[in-house]
């Protein structure tokens, strides 16, 4: 776990510099920042406001996935909506039940926003802003209750009456305001523990609070990314990641093995996707690899007949499995137990070819693991599912 925390710390500061923590720590709002490129999609930053609201310490939150704050009363549908928004890399505002450390549930408005790399258009982080929602109090005869109903319908009016302050003051410090509201809640006798299944709708005020907080956070991140040169922006400014859609990128990113996708419809049949494991195996960077044909991996002692075999298989739209001598960037060679297969998209036609590499010297000593060839085929299967599903027309990646 410790090494993961180091990875997290590093990835965040490499992108935004060490000073970003200070700037984010100054903000009163409750928010978390996650990194979809780290296994498990963990939280890499949690604000003061979030820790106060949830009751957790920073150590208990960093490295965890956001779903640890969900619980029995969290609607599975809302979980699904968040999952789909992440998969499609788009904004979302949704009411959802979360749980504090002490186990008490509460409704909140969750506002999700992707942060894109300016360089290649990939999502670098997701920012999640949490605004607690006042649950609509049940109707009772008392005057408090009548006024309380109007709190949800038109929060501004009631709050101004009670606190005699103007909107600007109210919006300034959300945490202070929250405690005022919570105090109100106990006066009205709202039973916080008895949550009903109708989603609690956020008021305009709450939505605006979320949007404002998000804008502030994104400004900070954009600014600090300029310090490191790894610029980010809130809209996808450039889809330099090639013809692959966002949703497909995310799905492929979950596959841990070494593989590449090539596009047979483009001249030269270039690589359009390379997994991290592939880059690690071959020693190249992503930039060096994208756009190249796979033959750059071959070298002086590579058997031409094997190369020909690969070419023939592709020409006849078939798969093949070969053992080929390949070379890393540092010119060292390795035996590549390579499996190639055509991959179709939702139209039923071949969209890509996948090449899954296994370095032959890696043998499985653990009898409880899958045979290497089955593991290799499972990569093919996972990619076939991902390519087919992501091209069915469901997702429209909105910036």
């Amino acid at each position: 776990m410790e090494s993961q925390l180091r990875v997290i710390e590093q990835s965040f500061t490499i992108r935004y510099s060490t000073w970003v923590h200070e700037a984010l720590d100054e903000m009163p709002d409750s928010f978390t920042i996650t990194d979809p490129f780290i296994s498990g999609h963990p939280i890499v930053y949690a604000s003061r406001g979030f820790l106060e609201m949830s009751g957790y310490s920073r150590d208990e939150v960093i490295g965890k996935n956001g779903r640890v704050f969900q619980g029995p009363d969290t609607s599975r549908r809302s979980v699904m909506e968040i999952r789909e928004a992440i998969r499609e890399e788009r904004n979302l505002q949704i009411s959802i039940v979360n749980y504090r450390k002490d186990g008490t549930p509460f409704w909140m408005l969750f506002h999700l926003c992707p942060v894109f790399s300016k360089e290649d258009g990939r999502v670098m982080n997701f920012v999640g802003v949490q605004v607690p929602i006042l649950k609509k109090p049940r109707r009772s005869g008392s005057e408090f209750a009548r006024n309380a109903v109007s709190l949800c319908e038109d929060g501004s009016g009631f709050l101004e009456t009670v606190f005699g302050s103007c909107r600007r003051e109210l919006c300034s410090d959300s945490v202070v305001e929250l405690s005022r509201i919570l105090a109100l809640e106990s006066v009205l006798g709202v039973d916080d523990a008895e949550l009903v299944d109708e989603p609690c709708k956020a008021t305009d005020i709450e939505q605006r609070k979320a949007t404002t907080a998000m804008n502030n956070i994104l400004s900070v991140l954009t600014h600090y990314s300029e310090l490191t040169g790894r610029l980010v922006c809130r809209k996808r400014c450039f889809s330099g990641m090639g013809p692959l859609g966002a949703s497909l990128n995310i799905s492929l990113g979950r596959i841990k093995q070494s593989f590449v996708l090539t596009d047979p419809h483009l001249p030269g049949m270039p690589i359009v996707y390379a997994s991290d494991a592939f880059l690690k195996l071959t020693g190249y960077t992503r930039q060096e690899v994208l756009g190249q044909n796979c033959r750059f991996l071959s070298g002086p002692n590579t058997d031409c007949s094997v190369q020909y075999q690969i070419k023939e298989s592709i020409r006849t739209e078939q798969g093949c499995t070969v053992c080929i001598l390949n070379y890393r960037k540092d010119t060292s060679s390795f035996w590549n137990f390579l499996h190639i297969s055509p991959v179709r998209n939702a139209s039923g036609k071949i969209a890509y070819y996948v090449g899954v590499q296994i370095e032959s010297s890696c043998t499985n000593e653990d009898k409880q693991k899958l045979r290497p060839d089955i593991r290799q085929l499972s990569v093919v299967g996972a990619i076939k599912v991902a390519v087919r599903s992501s091209s069915m027309g469901a997702s429209t990646s909105k910036s």
């Binding site: 409880q368 499972s378 299967g381 599912v385």
Partner: protein, 443 residues
């Protein structure tokens, strides 16, 4: 006796039409099947899942998601073995070569054009008025599939850990449960889960088998891997107990549907009505153990079976949400009450279709697929509101009266007998059930 004619789906390369199966089978098959003739000495991979009372929504499950997953392991095993069979040519067609799309619109219905799924064969007659029918060994069943169609055995592990044995002998004494391919797949990875295959159980749900299916959903750990069940009379064609499953990485329309009126069965299972969806049904969600959730659903299914009401079940969200859908389409069809236009599409509304995934045989239907068409078809499948409320009441009455510790007698049919003393155990928090107020929920 109500019957309809259908072209049955071929799920195994060893499945022949009943009509051809004159009984003049040459004995001693030599086909490497799952029957006594071929099994001794056979080996299959065995995936043994951790049979701990999993906490469904709690943090314990989540902790292990960050470690190197046994969760992803089942995925890899299934996908890898499935792709292997693809390359060996065991499927009747390449399902990834079938066009598919999400129909633009509010609901996200999914349509696929699959002309190869049903060859022009002679339709067979199916009896659709009886949900419970005895197993008939002369008809096709899963002991007749070739072993190459079986991907692995799926059993509970002896100890607390997931275990995998690449080459485990098949224990005939403790008939294993197996996962086999469906040679006419609807989607990539389409498999059949066959509980205790050698026991030749008929197509009817029991607590143990349903729990097995739920464990599989949880083990696969992917919200895009769902399991489904069709009862007889709800478009199951093989009367040998089986569930189906496959991968599709988009949400199903039924999963996106809102839920209406909710009832807490007890502190650990809640049941809601599906709303704003053409088919009326119930959603079960558990907050504690898989077993609680499984029992609630299987007891409801048993109740429907005993009342001769056909139904379908969809296990979604890695086993956290289960949809129970009683239906009446086959009966309507037999009575001639379905419009010709809908009949012409030859869509048999089984669990996948009801969930919103439609496999269409004609290009015309595929091109013209729309929210309205899908809705219209599914609306025919649904029970009416009055009938649904009746059925819901029957279910609630049955499951709330059950002894909380489960049917120790082992026979699921005994569940209708209420044990008087159990009524005295009162759940302090939740006793709310529609209808029969005397029958209180047990804790």
């Amino acid at each position: 006796m109500l019957r309809i004619k259908r072209v049955p789906t071929i799920v195994s390369n060893y499945q022949k039409e009943e009509a051809d199966d004159g009984g003049a089978r040459h004995g001693g098959c030599g086909r490497n099947c799952l029957n006594k003739c071929c099994i001794p000495g056979s080996k299959l991979p065995l995936y043994a899942f951790k049979k701990v009372n999993k906490v469904v929504n709690g943090k314990d499950v989540l902790d292990c998601e960050n470690k190197e997953p046994p969760v992803a392991f089942l995925d890899s095993l299934l996908l890898g073995e499935w792709e292997d069979r693809m390359q060996r040519g065991l499927f009747r067609y390449d399902v990834t070569a079938c066009e598919t799309k999400v129909i633009p619109g509010e609901y996200g219905f999914i349509a696929q054009l699959n002309e190869g799924r049903h060859l022009k064969k002679r339709p067979t007659e199916f009896r659709v008025d009886t949900v419970l029918q005895p197993f008939d060994g002369s008809k096709f069943n899963f002991t007749k599939v070739g072993q190459e169609e079986v991907l692995f055995q799926f059993e509970a592990s002896e100890d607390d850990e997931v275990q995998f044995f690449p080459n485990a002998p098949i224990d005939v004494e403790n008939s294993p449960s197996v996962v086999a391919i469906n040679v006419s797949p609807i989607e990539y990875g389409h498999v059949l889960l066959i509980p205790r295959v050698l026991e030749c159980l008929p197509q009817r749900i029991d607590r143990e088998s349903f729990l097995l299916a739920l464990y599989m959903a949880a083990e696969a750990g992917s919200p895009y891997f769902r399991l489904g069940y069709n009862s007889l009379g709800a478009f199951a064609t093989i009367n040998h107990l089986h569930f189906q499953a496959y991968y599709l990485a988009v949400p199903f329309p039924i999963e996106k549907a809102a839920t209406g009126k909710t009832t807490n069965l007890n502190a650990r299972v809640k049941i809601s009505e599906i709303s704003k969806y053409p088919v009326r049904g119930l959603v079960f969600e558990g907050t504690d153990t898989l077993e609680d959730l499984a029992n609630a659903v299987s007891d409801s299914c048993i109740c429907l079976q005993n009342n001769n009401i056909p139904y379908n079940v969809l296990i979604s969200d890695s086993g956290r949400r289960i949809f129970l859908l009683p239906q009446c389409y086959a009966e309507k069809q037999a009575l001639g009450e379905v419009s010709a236009e809908i009949l012409d599409t030859q869509v048999n509304p089984a669990v996948w279709e009801i969930s919103g995934h439609m496999v269409l045989k004609r290009r015309k239907d595929y091109e013209e697929a729309s929210d309205e068409n899908a809705w219209r078809l599914l609306a025919e499948v649904s029970l009416s509101e009055e009938r649904f409320q009746e059925v819901k009441a029957i279910i609630f009455e049955a499951i709330s009266c059950l002894d909380e510790n489960g049917s120790t007698t082992g026979g699921p049919d005994n569940d209708q007998d209420v044990k008087p003393q159990s009524l005295e155990e009162i759940d302090a928090h939740h006793g709310m059930l529609p209808g029969n107020q005397e029958c209180l929920v047990l804790h």
